[in-house]
């Protein structure tokens, strides 16, 4: 058990420190790297409590896909920063402080509610309606409830994501003029008769092709 405790403290320390570093570090790309480190250590914590499926999904979805896109965007911003320095933090008279305070207060109260609910319900695990059995792998037990009891919620969340994705594409899509496209069908179905034109050329006069 000692090794388990030591590993728990190591991973949680890394998680907390890197979460602080995400907000503190000056370089935005470094922030994203710390965010990735945070995700990885949290998935390690998931694995340590026996939720290996959640831990791996966390790695695949957040680290493997979402953080790559973050990094992608932030690196592009950094290119602009090197040019104009508009991205660097500067004192703008403190106009952003009230809004920031409001948002962080809301999040703080939410955290208190979550932790408070946990504190005042110590028999939370016993009061769950689902039996947690230890002899089934947690992938199977998640599948058992996700596709039976919660199938409608699952489907609805999938639908919402799909709508959000299509909406984002529709909102950002701009038709550009002068884009050259290739059609594979057209290229493949081209025959010799259409492509080659044999012309009898007259001496010293040449041939007009476009006519």
């Amino acid at each position: 058990m000692i090794a388990h405790t030591v590993f728990f403290y190591i991973f949680s320390l890394i998680a907390i420190v890197s979460a602080v570093m995400v907000t503190v570090s000056k370089n935005t790309v470094h922030s994203v790297f710390f965010l990735i480190l945070d995700f990885i250590s949290i998935s390690c914590l998931f694995i340590m409590i026996g939720a290996e499926f959640l831990g791996m999904i966390m790695l695949i979805v957040y680290v493997g896909a979402v953080a790559v896109l973050f990094l992608f965007v932030v690196m592009m911003l950094n290119v602009a920063e090197q040019k104009g320095q508009w991205f660097s933090s500067r004192w703008d008279g403190g106009t952003h402080i009230p809004v920031g305070l409001l948002v962080s207060l809301i999040i703080f109260f939410e955290l208190i509610i979550v932790i408070g609910g946990w504190k005042y319900k110590p028999d939370l695990l016993n009061s769950l309606s689902i039996n947690i059995s230890t002899d089934v792998t947690n992938t199977r037990s998640i599948g058992n409830v996700l596709y039976t009891d919660y199938i409608h919620l699952f489907q609805i969340s999938g639908m919402i994501l799909l709508v959000a994705m299509i909406g984002a594409i529709v909102l950002t899509y701009r038709e550009r003029a002068g884009v050259k496209r290739q059609s594979y069908v057209k290229q493949i179905s081209r025959e010799r008769d259409e492509g080659v034109d044999l012309v009898e050329a007259e001496r010293n006069k040449g041939v007009k092709i476009d006519a």
């Binding site: 790309v29 790297f33 499926f53 791996m56 790695l59 680290v63 790559v68 690196m75 792998t137």
Partner: protein, 333 residues
């Protein structure tokens, strides 16, 4: 504390017993790659150092060790140094879950295939970090390209894995192999095997999908600023990843350590050898593709990944699951 120490020691022995053969075979596989490539092009390839040039990779490694490591002055030095380390580490840690035989695996975890998928999707970070930290145009372009490319092809690999998992009913790699005792999945899922092979080419940045390196336009892409041992580490990580993809293909589709027919001369050969044969077979296919196919254009690559492979493998998921459901073959009941 004594018991902790002894457990730690045996684990370290096991890890070394796995990693040293992997590293040696990576060196050998570079040689094999160059030989196959030369064979296709009617050249001789590396044949001078040692018998058949077998020690060529060792000579190259020695050369890399003695070369100077140059770190560009305007680079982000910490990230620059970390990038090859990340590539190399990620390429090696995934070998922990590959089963070489029944009960002959370093970590027999429940979610082995997810672990493999997660680690191979982390592989993109080595490239992005290297490309960004170099603070130069070509490495950055290479990194951006590879980020988009690897994320796209991971999606189709994920869907292909779902196809296999539907037939197995477990995420454990040993279970996946044992489920193929009667029929290797390459036969019922042959289209998925082909798509997996092509996606693996794209995932490991091999030709014809080597756009992140593209020596003709990007002068080796994200590796441009690297030299000496750091370049060699990128190189080793890349080949270890290729071997890993071959191992993944043989575990998912070619029956892992199982012999093709369960009769005497075949099943007398121990399982690890069969796995190695299958990995080598897939690797030679990789090398033949490299030698014969020209590089894709970037928009064609994206079109192939998103508009052809993804819909087709999704369609195949529906097909596989309805087949299994209709004939009542669903596993895990």
């Amino acid at each position: 504390m004594e018991s902790y120490f002894s457990i730690l020691l045996t684990e370290v022995y096991k890890i070394l017993f796995l990693l040293i053969p992997v590293l040696v075979s990576v060196a050998m596989i570079v040689w094999l790659d160059r030989r196959v490539w030369a064979f296709v092009q009617k050249r001789r390839g590396p044949n001078v150092v040692g018998p058949f040039g077998l020690f060529q990779s060792l000579a190259d490694a020695l050369k890399y060790i003695f070369k100077e490591i140059i770190i560009p002055a305007s680079s982000n030095k910490l990230v620059f140094v970390l990038a090859p380390v990340v590539t190399m580490t990620l390429a090696l840690i995934s070998w922990a879950v590959i089963p070489f035989d029944e009960d002959f695996v370093l970590a027999d975890i429940n979610v082995g295939i997810l672990y493999l998928f997660a680690v191979s999707s982390l592989g993109v970070y080595g490239i992005i970090m290297g490309g960004w930290a170099s603070n130069s145009k070509y490495p950055f372009l290479g990194a951006i390209r590879s980020a988009a490319q690897m994320v796209s092809y991971e999606v189709s690999i994920g869907v292909i894995i779902i196809n296999v998992l539907l037939c197995v009913g477990s995420l454990n790699l040993s279970d996946i192999v044992m489920a193929q005792q009667n029929l290797w999945f390459v036969i019922p899922l042959f289209p998925m095997f082909v798509i997996f092979f092509i996606s693996a080419l794209a995932e490991t940045n091999r030709p014809p999908f080597d756009l992140p390196e593209a020596e003709a336009e990007l002068v080796a892409g994200y590796q441009t600023e690297y030299s000496g041992m750091m370049y060699a580490m990128f190189w080793l990580g890349e080949y270890a990843n290729i071997l890993l993809m071959c191992a993944m293909g043989s575990v998912l589709f070619l029956g892992g350590w199982l012999s093709p027919i369960d009769i005497f001369p075949f099943n007398a050969i121990p399982g690890p050898f069969w796995l190695i044969f299958k990995i080598l077979f897939l690797f030679i296919l990789f090398a033949l593709v490299k030698a014969t196919v020209p590089r894709y254009r970037y928009d064609q690559l994206m079109k192939l990944g998103w508009k052809i492979f993804l819909p087709f493998s999704l369609f195949y998921v529906v097909l596989t699951s309805s087949f299994l459901l209709y004939f009542d073959l669903l596993p895990g009941k």
